[in-house]
């Protein structure tokens, strides 16, 4: 550390230099921001650090970006591991059956209060969504012209910004396709075991506002969309 003389003595300049990476990243609290800016006003030479920090930032990001995304179906392996470990997991309300069937899992899905628009209609509804999900998946994916095989086949991660979307059990297939087409969205994978689809909602580099706007667009169509969650 650039400490003057005694290794254990930290100078005020050292203290400020230590804060600069977080200052440049905009991750300092207000008190430390004021402290850094006062120091910068007294000693503009500290600003030379900004260029170095920017270089470090660029190369750190580049090094991470060089690591490819994981395949799209890695979640299947996780969910299989979860199923194997379900028994010993401690829960506030233990399930009666140690390994719920697909129908029970869908029943849980319907029961969630956060999923506005998805109506609980018992096992019949669960059956309907499974059947319809398959139809929607096939039709929507084929209409997009880029057929994506069902889960279980190793596929590269879909390009673009993607969301996990569940459709309302009573939604017509045509309504789903129309909604997605109107907003230039495409189903790229699914349905998974829970009837959820991976939907490409736009290109890779959407900013947060654009991503949120797309998700909100889906959520506003409560007659068609039961749940929409941004994945990446």
């Amino acid at each position: 550390m650039a400490m003057s003389g005694d290794r254990n003595v930290t100078t005020e300049r050292d203290e400020i230099e230590m804060l600069l990476p977080w200052y440049v990243m905009g991750r300092l609290d207000a008190a430390d921001v004021a402290r850094v800016e006062a120091a910068l006003a007294r000693d503009p030479s500290l600003e030379r650090q900004f260029r170095l920090i920017r270089e470090e930032f660029d190369e750190s990001v580049a090094g991470n970006a060089a690591i490819a995304d994981r395949p799209a179906n890695t979640a299947d392996r996780l969910m299989a591991d979860v199923a194997r470990r379900r028994q010993p997991v401690r829960r506030m309300a233990p399930r009666a059956a140690p390994q719920p069937s697909l129908w029970e899992r869908l029943g849980d899905l319907f029961a969630l209060p956060q999923m506005g628009g998805m109506r609980l209609a018992g096992a019949a509804a669960a059956l309907l969504i499974v059947v319809q999900a398959g139809v929607i998946g096939t039709m929507a994916v084929r209409q997009s012209g880029t057929f994506a095989p069902a889960s279980g086949v190793t596929e590269p991660a879909p390009r673009g910004t993607v969301a996990l979307v569940g459709f309302v059990d009573t939604a017509a297939t045509a309504a789903v396709i129309e909604l997605l087409a109107a907003h230039e969205m495409t189903i790229v994978d699914g349905p998974d075991a829970n009837g959820l689809f991976t939907v490409r909602i736009g290109p890779d580099h959407m900013d947060a506002a654009e991503r949120n706007a797309k998700i909100e667009t889906l959520k506003r169509r409560a007659d068609v969309v039961a749940v929409a969650v941004l994945l990446r």
Binding site: M1, A2, D14, E17, M18, L19, P21, W22, M25, R27, L28, D29, R48, Q49, L52, E55, E56, F57, E59, S60, V61, A62, G63, N64, I67, D69, R70, T74, A75, R77, L78, M79, D81, V82, R85, V89, R90, R91, M92, A93, R95, R105, D108, L109, L112, Q114, A157, L164, G166, D192, N194, L196, T198, A208, N212, V227, V229, L230, L231, R232
Partner: protein, 187 residues
Amino acid sequence: MDETAEDQRLIARVARADEPALKALFLRHQNRVFRFVQRIVRNEAVADELTNEVFLDVWQHAQSYEGRSSVTTWILAMAHNRAVSALRKRREEAWDEDEAMHIPDGADNSEVIVQKADKGRALRACLDALPADQREIMDLVYYHERSIAEVSTILGLPEGTVKTKMFNARKRLSELLKAAGVDRGWP
């Protein structure tokens, strides 16, 4: 709903054994966790396995999440612990986190680095040559954009130590670059 609020909502559902919520959380964060772990353990297969284990930890411990940090920070803390444990096992020796995490990477030396084409590539090579703990903190600050308090939570270190550790990592990076023929004029 912003991404943090969405994560909070998902983790609450995971705590109620909601598997679709776990899957959504996994799909949102798996690449971040995978990259974080791989940059530490430097083995794709190990990083892949550890990423799964991290999310099994999320599944099993979601009820203990108290919202004191963001979900991302909470998950990265578990990823850090998994990666440190994996390094410990790999080296098959009594673990001294300070000691083992400080072992510099031997993949590249200064003489090799200096012949690389441009400053950016030299800088990246020197980042890769940092000891694992220094590389990790640089990634946490720059790539994962964690604050001092968040890095403190992830690494389990006091905030003062976090600042010193980052400072030392940056200094070490400059020293490696200087040895490679790139003088940054600091420190």
